[in-house]
């Protein structure tokens, strides 16, 4: 007694069910009506009314937003300015109510952009306030961030104000990718660099302030990725200008090879890449070493006999990259087989692509604070990775041993990314080997016993004649290997090679040693590409699975008739 009687749960459920059914009916009939009217071309206010019923419940119905745009465009031509103003006001209000239903609706935000950009005198201040309110509720709503950037751009809000806004949100919760990203857009605007300097970079005082801010974030919570990404951006640098790195002329093959600082697409003829021989332009067919017409580091062309004859004491070759204002020259002396000209691959050009050319004092102090953090958080992967990158940026050879130790730790704490880390490590080791080779000024590269899993920077090895890749964990010789135009001996013993795609069209390759690739090379067809290497005389396949096959020596002899000795 004395108790409230309440409906049972079955009664409630039934009432709810009926209500839902009713709603569904209304929804479907309204949708039907909108489509009929659209088909009939009746684009009037009734369509606005109907679509608003549906969109109010489900703002993600993109077609209906299109309908509304059609109607509004139609009405613009029919209504008086006063009527239109009322219409726009209603539309803005309606959009806001839809955003409250779903603050992450692409359609709704887009419609708002569309509407605002059509208004003669949009009230941008109001829009900024709307963004602030939505970001108050969810500071990581990137839809709203997008819209805010749109509004700020349209309203020409000073970058300083927007930067202050990102400050306030980062203060509230620094785990905010959008806010950090916005900073990375605003800061270069606020601190434009002189034309000559590298673009997208910050003056040192600003950079140091940002570094301190972001350090606060990752010392507070080193597991938060957003801060580390921003840190990487701060220390990163813009892409270097396109450059010609190496030019090589071979009399024997009557061939000229060019390597660029990044993969580029060269069209035939003289429009993109102009070749001048002894002062006059020469039309040639440019192609890539692997024959694919894709952006590539290395391009080559055949030379007519006239440009290589021995009548002159020397021939002068000059290549001009038309788009990038870069050029390179080399001389082929009388009686010489080849001539080349190349930039020495300093570590800066090669390997500081990820981290910047900032003063090393800045990098050094960053490295120190990261090491400090690492002592406190020995298992933090972001910290370990950043340390590795900083060491590479500072001095890759000096820190080589230390870097390898950090890689080991990193792999242990982040086994999910072990393969990625192996590849990254391979890349760094290769870079270091290239550097060492450069300093020694030899054309022989030893990369044995380095635990490599992947080959990269092969375009740097244009002039290498002997390459030893034995005792690694390589699974393929990638097509970029075809850039090694001077390669004579290739040792790939004791790997897991399955594919030899890159051993294609290597004009000087004489010996290929492929012993003990126990997991790979099962089919003779994998060796097909070797037939395109005209001077290959020695092929060692001992210890490969395919050696067990019946009649293998006959098959190979047929496949590779020019190779005089095949060891199986």
């Amino acid at each position: 007694h004395g108790r409230l009687k309440v409906k049972t749960s079955e009664e409630q459920a039934e009432a709810k069910r009926l209500e839902r059914e009713q709603k569904l009916k209304l929804y479907l009939s309204a949708t039907q009506a909108v489509f009929q009217k659209r088909q009939a071309g009746e684009l009037d206010e009734s369509v606005l009314e109907l679509t608003s019923q549906i969109l109010g419940a489900n703002p993600d119905f993109a077609t209906l937003w299109n309908c509304r745009r059609e109607v509004l465009q139609q009405l613009e031509t029919q209504k008086s300015p006063e009527e239109l103003a009322a219409l726009v006001k209603a539309e803005l209000g309606f959009l806001e109510s839809c955003l409250r239903v779903n603050p992450k609706s692409y359609g709704t935000w887009h419609h708002r952009c569309w509407l605002l950009s059509r208004l003669p005198e949009p009230n941008w201040a109001r829009e900024l306030e709307l963004c602030a309110r939505f970001l108050e509720v969810d500071e990581r709503n990137f839809h709203c961030w997008d819209y805010r950037r749109f509004v700020a751009a349209q309203a020409a809000v000073p970058p300083a104000e927007e930067l202050a806004f990102t400050d306030s949100l980062i203060t509230r919760n620094f785990s905010n990718y959008s806010s950090w990203h916005y900073r990375s857009c605003l800061l270069p605007q606020l601190h434009p660099q002189p034309d000559s300097g590298p673009q997208d970079r910050l003056p040192e005082d600003v950079l140091l302030k940002e570094l301190e801010l972001v350090q606060n974030a990752f010392f507070t919570d080193p597991n938060d990725q957003s801060a580390w990404f921003y840190h990487r951006w701060l220390l990163g640098r813009a892409d270097p200008q396109d450059a010609l790195r190496c030019l090589h002329v071979s009399r024997d093959e009557a061939c000229l090879t060019v390597s660029f600082s990044r993969p580029l697409l060269v069209s035939s003829g003289m429009e993109t890449l102009l070749l001048m021989v002894d002062g006059s332009p020469l039309a040639v067919e440019w192609r890539t070493p692997d024959g694919r017409n894709r952006p590539n580091h290395v391009w080559l062309c055949d030379l007519p006999a006239a440009s290589l004859n021995d009548q002159l004491p020397q021939h002068m070759f000059c290549v001009i990259w038309m788009a990038g204002d870069a050029q390179k020259e080399c001389v082929l002396l009388k009686g010489r087989q080849e001539g080349w000209c190349r930039d020495s691959a300093t570590d800066e050009q090669l390997f500081r692509c990820e981290l910047s050319v900032e003063k090393s004092t800045v990098l050094q102090s960053e490295l120190e604070s990261c090491k400090e953090l690492q002592e406190l958080e020995p298992e933090n992967k972001w910290c370990l990775l950043t340390i590795i990158l900083l060491m590479r940026a500072l001095d890759p050879l000096l820190y080589e041993k230390e870097t390898l130790q950090y890689f080991q730790t990193l792999k242990a704490v982040d086994p999910m990314r072990a393969a990625y880390l192996d590849d990254l490590r391979s890349k760094f080791l290769l870079e270091n080997s290239v550097l060492k080779m450069e300093y020694a000024e030899v054309r022989v590269l030893h990369l044995a016993h380095k635990d490599l899993t992947v080959l990269c920077h092969l375009e740097q090895l244009l002039l290498v004649t002997h390459l030893d890749l034995s005792h690694n964990r390589l699974r393929a010789l990638p097509s970029a290997l075809a850039a090694l135009r001077c390669l004579e001996v290739l040792q790939v013993d004791d790997n897991d090679i399955e594919s030899l795609d890159g051993v294609t069209n290597l004009p000087r390759l004489r010996e290929l040693l492929l012993c003990s690739n126990r997991k790979g090379l099962r089919q003779p067809t994998a060796l097909q590409s070797l037939a395109s290497c005209p001077r290959l005389v020695l092929l060692n396949l001992q210890g490969n699975p395919l050696c067990q096959a019946v009649g293998i020596s006959e098959q190979l002899a047929e496949l590779l008739p020019l190779v005089s000795s095949i060891l199986i």
Partner: protein
């Protein structure tokens, strides 16, 4: 007037403090007929909040010797042969050692009154002229416990037994002769300034012209209704039992809350902010990068310390402060964690206590804001009233200023069966819930009570200046020497609706070792400086100035075994008064435990049903639980409009 009280109930609750109010609400909600009475004319008992004049009246009541209660006990005649009576106390003995100090300059006007005090009286007792009450710094009581205090009165202090005859006595305010002099000198000047500024509304004046920020005592009195001064100073842990109960029962809709904005620490004579949330740590300028990491790492560990027993098992026998020393924490951080986050005692808390307290703190962080605490707007005293309101909505009957003379016990069954109220009416019930302070000395003769030391200060600025002057801060000052206790300081700004603009209301609380003033004055002196006019010019960076201060001791009747009370029937349940702790868990736990005894197997304060789901059919019409439908049952109006509140205008004497 009392004739219209029904003569039978299921539950009679005596006292309107927080635990009693929660039980009343819970019982009423689950269908019990509840009578809720309080002998005082206001809600909350020792949990109440007062306007400034209300507080002065309350002070007067507790400063006066109350011998008027020796009426002939008329109820004796009503006790039958097979019955026994447990007389209840007529006098509140829970408040002692009341001392008041006024530092703000006095006006020469005599007739200052709280604005609107007579028209809309929220304060229950208005008979006293506030200025008069303030003039009485304190009055010694006959009570023997006060005899020690009275000898501390400065010699020139006349006991203001006749307040009317002592207008404008500045010397009465003086604590020391020196200060007294200062006051006298500046008094005239202050008054003249006051007159020129009279036309400007005070609140705006102080807000817009901080330079002229001179708050006089008469301004405090005039703006007295802006004050809501809590007798107990507590906060709500944002995942504490009270918050969960408020949400579950939907009582939360009767109250509003503000987040505490800062956790402060007092170290080496300096007040500083303690970074405790992720955002705080990130933004902190005082911590080094490494400290940031250390602190975050330790706090993250505390969040789920149970899962890493190897990290603390070896230190279980140690105190928490010893344990912290073994962790990778700088002394700075150890201090923050020990005193400001765990808020545990340096000397006695074990590692587990500390970890538990830290975890609780962190668990509450971020639910509503950057600190773990909420403060109810208009003061802690709102909370018991919210539950009373819920009780009334479900049919509970309220009588304030209605005392109970005795409980009637049936000799045969040994059970209590009725009460006899102040009008001699006998009211039958099954269960009797009585707040500790209502029991007579005879009943509690064996009870050992602890005491809480309290101070209430009105100051002119915050203990730590910040961008915004609207901060709510909590500061723990560790115990200074063995045998004393840490002092909890809560500073409230005017937007909490507990003090007038331009002032701060500061509550100090600790477990008593001596009188409130002896316990708390050292801390007050370290944090504040008495108000003097001369200092006003170059006041940047100085301590906040005291405008007014009150000290008193309150009985702590928590955690007392039921067996300590003499001769209580099994259906008499005891509720304790406020405890010294920061949160309200104790009160809620108590209420829930007692409710389970009264109504076993009933849900404790379930959410009210959706109005749409209430079945209204024919004569068995049930009240709808919404205050908008004004008529429920004849007597069950919301407490604020209850006819039993009618006599509150009468002077209490």
């Amino acid at each position: 007037m009392a004739n219209n009280l029904p003569s039978e109930f299921d539950v009679i609750v005596i006292g309107t403090g927080l635990p009693e109010s929660v039980i009343a609400a819970a019982c009423s909600r689950s269908g019990q007929r509840v009578l809720h009475v309080d002998s005082r004319s206001y809600y909350g008992g020792n949990w109440a909040s007062f306007s400034f004049s209300g507080l002065l009246s309350w002070l007067k009541e507790h400063q006066e010797s109350s011998d008027a209660v020796n009426e002939s006990p008329t109820w004796q005649e009503q006790i039958l042969e097979n019955e026994e009576a447990i007389a209840l106390s007529k006098k509140d003995r829970t408040i002692q050692h009341v001392e008041v100090f006024c530092y703000a300059s006095q006006d020469l006007h005599e007739d200052v009154e709280e604005a609107g005090a007579l028209q809309k009286n929220r304060a229950p007792l208005t008979a006293v002229n506030p200025t008069e009450a303030a003039d009485s710094v304190f009055l010694p009581k006959e009570d023997e416990s006060l005899s020690t205090v009275s000898c501390e009165i400065p010699a020139e202090q006349p006991p203001s037994s006749n307040p009317e005859s002592a207008p404008e006595v500045n010397d009465v305010e003086a604590v020391e002769e020196k200060e007294n002099d200062g006051n006298d000198k500046t008094c005239v000047q202050a008054t003249s300034e006051k007159e020129t500024g009279e036309n400007v509304p005070t609140a705006e004046n102080t807000a817009e012209q901080p330079k002229k920020n001179r708050i006089t005592y008469s301004q405090i009195v005039k703006e007295g209704r802006r004050f809501n001064i809590d007798l107990v100073s507590k906060l709500l842990y944002s995942r504490g039992l009270l918050i969960e109960l408020l949400i579950k029962s939907n009582v939360s809709r009767y109250a509003e809350f503000k987040n505490v904005t800062r956790i402060l620490a007092f170290r080496d004579g300096r007040v500083e902010q303690v970074p405790c949330s992720r955002a705080d740590v990130f933004n902190s300028k005082q911590l080094t990068m490494v400290e940031k990491r250390m602190l975050m790492k330790f706090l993250t560990f505390c969040m789920d310390y149970e899962e890493h027993p190897d990290e603390y098992k070896a230190y279980e026998e140690m105190t928490f402060s010893e344990y912290l020393k073994t962790q990778k924490l700088t002394p700075n951080l150890q201090y923050f964690v020990l005193h400001s986050i765990a808020m545990t005692s340096e000397a006695t808390s074990t590692t587990i206590d500390g970890l538990k307290a830290t975890k609780n703190f962190l668990r509450c962080l971020g639910r509503y804001g950057n600190t773990p605490f909420l403060f109810p707007l208009y003061g802690q005293g709102e909370l018991p009233q919210c539950f009373c309101r819920m009780c009334a909505v479900f049919g509970g009957i309220y009588c304030l200023h209605h005392s109970v003379q005795c409980l009637v016990v049936d000799k045969d069954s040994g059970k209590c069966k009725a009460i006899i109220d102040q009008f001699g009416q006998r009211i039958i019930s099954k269960h009797f819930i009585v707040e500790d302070s209502y029991f007579s000395e005879k009943t509690c003769s064996n009870v050992q009570y602890r005491q809480i030391s309290r101070a209430v200060l009105i100051t002119d600025r915050s203990v730590l200046k910040a961008d915004s002057d609207q901060q709510i801060s909590i500061l723990t000052v560790p115990a200074s020497k063995p045998g004393t206790f840490a002092v909890r300081v809560i500073e409230l700004c005017s937007s909490t609706m507990t003090c007038m603009k331009g002032t701060y209301l500061v509550h100090l609380t600790c477990t008593s070792s001596k009188t409130a003033r002896e316990d708390l004055e050292p801390v007050v002196q370290e944090l504040f400086t008495p108000y003097t006019e001369t200092e006003i010019e170059n006041d940047e960076g100085k301590k906040p100035r005291l405008l007014w201060a009150l000290y008193f001791n309150m009985r702590d009747s928590s955690d007392i075994s039921r067996n300590s009370y003499n001769d209580l029937s099994s259906n008499i349940y005891i509720c304790s008064g406020p405890d010294c702790g920061l949160g309200n868990d104790n009160a809620v736990k108590q209420a829930e435990a007692l409710f389970q005894q009264i109504c076993p197997n009933e849900d404790f304060c379930p959410p009210p049903p959706n109005p749409e789901d209430i079945v209204l059919d024919g004569d068995s019409l049930q009240p709808e639980p919404s205050e908008s439908s004004s008529i429920l049952q004849t007597n069950s109006e919301t407490p604020k409009e209850s006819p039993y509140l009618g006599n509150q205008e009468e002077p209490s004497e």
